[in-house]
Structures are given as structure tokens and as C-alpha cells.
């Protein structure tokens, strides 16, 4: 069976028949954008750029340095965004492998092709969330947003970058506010998916969400979530993490997750959900 047929099946059953997850995600984005616009209004800022809004949604929060008087600022929107995406991509693969997918696998004559199709499904599914995020941001910004990914001077009122903010932080950072969050979501979601081949989905979700939570708490390149936060990027703040290292890290995780999945699926027991 060709990979194309599997992908077609996964797009139909794993995306088109589960459009409600995009609806739930859309609600999250709409509420978040309204919240952003309300915050701008409270600072009496009328105009903003699409880049500002995306930075607010996906940019995370400043580094937390434990010291007297410093309160940990949880990057709620960043966290909810990733936890939602991870949750919505959690069960499909496991359900397929323990259900209808078994009939597809033995008919296809190969296990690896099934896995590769799931990886492609995962990338398409995750990208879909961000495409929806961008579309909603554009639609809700028609009246008072500039359609540019440049970030405005006044955004530091809305997103707290801390005292490490660079002088020239309004430079073009499209890569940091858009590509890195997408790559992070794809990487962590693929990692989670490969873990579901070994463990129950709930355990995989605990692992992936723990990476997100710990990344929010501590700024270190080892906790890869930091690379996806523009508010912790070295283009914006002085002691931030590098985009290039982020891209390399995410690419390694993506490739490793696919390879690990191939190795597991070739040998694993395909059993019913029991």
C-alpha cells in the first residue's frame, strides 16, 4: 500500500472527522486575542501589529530568576496553547493502533508505512492549529492591526520581558514568534506520539506536559520549550537562547522521534485496547 493512501486515510479520519478540536482551539485563540486587545486598550494603545499579537499568544514569558520579591510569572497562554495541541494530538494514533488501524496495517503488509503516515498526520494536524491561530489573529485585527510581523515599541508594556530587554528589540523576529513555536509543537507532539507506542497515552501526556511546565519555570537550553518562547530569545533579551540552537534541537527531536517510532513499531505488540 502506498504511503499516500495511508496519509489520505489519516487526513480524512484524523483531521476532517475531528474538526471539533480546531473549533475548541479557535475559541481559545479568539478569547486570547480579545484579552490582548483589552490589555492594549488599558494602556490606551490603539494600533498594534500582527507580530505583536502573535508574540503575545506564542511568545511566552520572561525568565524567572528566583530571588526575593520576584514572583514566578507563568506563561499561561504559551502553556495552554501547547497543552491543548498536545492533548488534541494525543489519542488518535493509539486509538488507531488498537482499533481499526490494525486492519489497515496487516492489509498494507508493513508497519513502518503506518507510522510514517501518522508522523505526517501529526505535522499537518499541528500546523493546522497555527494556521487557524494566524487566520483568527488576522481576522480580529482587521480594524486596528498593521499586517506585519514586526513588533512594536510598546509591546513591552503588554508582554513583560523583564530587565534584560535589548535596545533594538523591535527588529524582525518572524522566525522567533512563529516558526519556533510551530517547530516546538511538532517536535514535542511527535515525541509524545512515539512514547504512546510504548506507554499509555496518559503517561506520554504527562511527559510532554512536564517538559512544557519545566521549560516555563527554568531558562536553560536543555528544557527545549524555552526555544519556542520569543520572550526568552537572544534577539529580544540579553541572556536569551539562540534561535539557531532551537531549530537544531527541534530538528533532532523530530528526526529522533520518527526513528524511535520506526524501531518500536517494527517490533511492538499490536493488541486491542483492553
Amino acid at each position: 500500500m502506498s504511503l499516500i493512501k495511508f496519509i489520505r486515510f489519516d487526513i480524512k479520519n484524523g483531521i476532517m472527522r475531528r474538526l471539533y478540536v480546531y473549533l475548541v482551539y479557535s475559541l481559545f485563540i479568539v478569547v486570547s486575542v480579545w484579552f490582548f486587545q483589552g490589555k492594549l486598550h488599558s494602556y490606551e494603545i490603539e494600533k498594534y501589529s500582527i507580530g505583536d499579537c502573535l508574540l503575545f499568544l506564542y511568545g511566552g514569558a520572561k525568565e524567572y530568576v528566583p530571588k526575593t520579591g520576584e514572583v514566578f510569572e507563568m506563561p499561561y497562554l504559551w502553556l495552554v496553547n501547547h497543552l491543548l495541541i498536545l492533548y488534541f494530538t494525543l489519542n488518535y494514533t493509539d486509538n488507531d493502533l488498537t482499533g481499526f488501524g490494525q486492519q489497515l496495517i496487516y492489509r498494507s503488509g508493513g508497519r513502518v508505512i503506518w507510522w510514517l503516515s501518522k508522523c505526517i498526520w501529526n505535522i499537518i494536524m499541528v500546523s493546522g492549529f497555527y494556521i487557524i491561530g494566524i487566520i483568527i489573529t488576522l481576522l480580529l485585527g482587521i480594524n486596528n492591526a498593521e499586517f506585519t510581523l514586526d513588533i512594536s515599541e510598546h509591546i513591552s508594556y503588554v508582554v513583560n520581558f523583564g530587565d534584560q530587554l535589548k535596545q533594538n528589540h523591535t527588529q524582525k523576529i518572524a522566525l522567533e514568534i512563529l516558526l519556533l513555536p510551530i517547530l516546538y509543537s511538532v517536535a514535542i507532539s511527535l515525541l509524545q506520539m512515539s512514547l504512546t507506542l510504548l506507554f499509555k497515552p496518559i503517561f506520554s501526556y504527562i511527559v510532554s506536559s512536564s517538559i512544557c511546565l519545566s521549560s516555563a519555570y527554568k531558562l536553560t537550553p536543555i528544557l527545549i520549550g524555552n526555544f519556542s518562547m520569543a520572550a526568552r530569545n537572544d534577539k529580544i533579551v540579553n541572556n536569551g537562547v539562540s534561535s539557531a540552537l532551537g531549530i537544531i534541537s527541534f530538528s533532532i527531536i523530530i528526526i529522533l522521534s520518527v526513528i524511535i517510532g520506526v524501531l518500536i513499531i517494527r517490533k511492538c505488540n499490536i493488541l486491542n485496547k483492553e
Binding site: 486515510f9 472527522r17 486492519q103 496487516y106 492489509r107 503488509g109 517494527r266 486491542n272
Partner: protein
């Protein structure tokens, strides 16, 4: 297609599910695995299907080792306990989706099989609205529709009424006459006696008794 199990052992975690099972299953025969729930019948079928691989020992299909030479038997139809289909699709659409993978059969054959298992009238009904017996019939239809060389049916009489069991028996005999190698697992001795050339009794993952059924 011939099937040879050589010293097959399967452990899952610390549980020994199948313990050193060896047997030859001849081409074009009907073999019945008989045993109580949890005896290891379903696991043996999964091992033969290639959905799981043995911890030790080998399963050979036409002299090709599963998991080494081939991932799955080249021509196989499987109905394992509680067959899974897509709830929001009709029975017909579920079969069409499966048939699309190999592209061996056309829509006429799908209709023919739906008719054969007694689902012609309900072909366009959503799977979620199927009764247990109808789900079982659809599982059987999926297993036989592509005229595979090997057919594995796990507890095929589950949820079937008397007429359903009679129909199933006729289908199994017809498939055997076509040349398929058929393996059944059931706790229903009467059904196995009516269909199987050979009956292998399984208990605690081991073969405890084996006999030819000369009535068939």
C-alpha cells in the same frame, strides 16, 4: 498457504501467554483452536497474523518467517475478537475503505460479500447503529472479502444467532473449498466439530490435545 509454528513462546510482561507451542497447519485445511477464555487462543491467532511476534520460536508462512522475512502474511483475512470499525461510516463504507488499501476487489465484490453475510439490507446503516450480531457479520465479511489465502476467525460465533452460525459454517466450508487455509478459535465444541478438519485444544498457553476430525 501452510503455517508452521516452531516452539512459539510469548511473554507479555511477566505473564507467559503462549508456552512452547509447535504445530503444522496444512494448506487448505480448517483448524480449530479450542479452549476456555484466557487459554491463549486469541494470542495464537495474533501470532499467526503477525500483529505480535513471538518472544522465542518462529511462525512460518509458506516457509517465510514472520517478523524476519515478512511483516505480515501476504494474503490474510483476520477477524479478531470484537472487530473494530469506524462508527460514523456505514458497513459498506468501512469495507470499501479496507478494500481500497490493496485495491484487489471492486464494489460489486463488496456488495456480494455484504449479501453473503446477510448485511445487504443494512449496508448503508452507520456502524454505530449495528447490533452485536451485525458487527460480527461485518467482521467476517472484512476477513473474507478479498479471498485471502489465510483466514483467521477468533470466536466467530459470538453474538450470532442460530441462523447466523449456520450461515457462518457454510461460508467457512465454501472458503476452504476455494483453497483457503482457515484457523478458527472458539470455546464452542459443537461449532468446531462441524467445521474443523483438526481440533487443537489449548489450555494455559499450551497444546493439551490434538485430534483429526474425520467427520469433515
Amino acid at each position: 498457504m501452510s503455517i508452521v509454528l516452531k516452539n512459539v513462546t510469548k511473554k507479555i510482561g511477566r505473564n507467559m501467554i503462549i508456552n512452547d507451542v509447535s504445530c503444522n497447519i496444512e494448506n487448505g485445511s480448517i483448524t480449530g483452536f479450542k479452549g476456555i477464555n484466557g487459554s491463549g487462543k486469541t494470542m495464537l491467532l495474533r501470532l499467526i497474523s503477525g500483529l505480535i511476534y513471538p518472544t522465542s520460536g518462529t511462525v512460518e508462512i509458506d516457509k517465510k518467517i514472520l517478523g524476519k522475512d515478512i511483516a505480515f502474511p501476504e494474503s490474510i483475512g483476520i477477524m479478531l475478537e470484537n472487530p473494530s470499525f469506524i462508527n460514523s461510516y456505514s458497513g459498506y463504507d468501512n469495507l470499501r475503505m479496507l478494500a481500497d488499501i490493496k485495491g484487489l476487489i471492486d464494489e460489486d465484490r463488496i456488495c456480494e460479500v455484504m449479501d453473503l453475510v446477510g448485511l445487504k439490507e443494512n449496508g448503508n446503516k452507520k456502524y454505530r447503529k449495528f447490533s452485536l450480531g451485525m458487527k460480527q457479520r461485518l467482521g467476517i465479511a472484512a476477513a473474507i472479502m478479498e479471498k485471502p489465502g489465510i483466514i483467521l476467525l477468533d470466536e466467530p460465533t459470538n453474538a450470532l444467532d442460530e441462523s447466523g452460525v449456520k450461515l457462518l459454517t457454510e461460508i467457512i466450508i465454501a472458503e476452504r473449498n476455494r483453497g483457503a487455509t482457515i484457523i478458527l478459535s472458539s470455546h464452542d465444541a459443537q461449532f468446531l466439530n462441524k467445521t474443523s478438519n483438526r481440533i487443537i485444544e489449548i489450555s494455559n498457553g499450551k497444546i493439551t490435545n490434538e485430534r483429526n476430525n474425520y467427520d469433515i
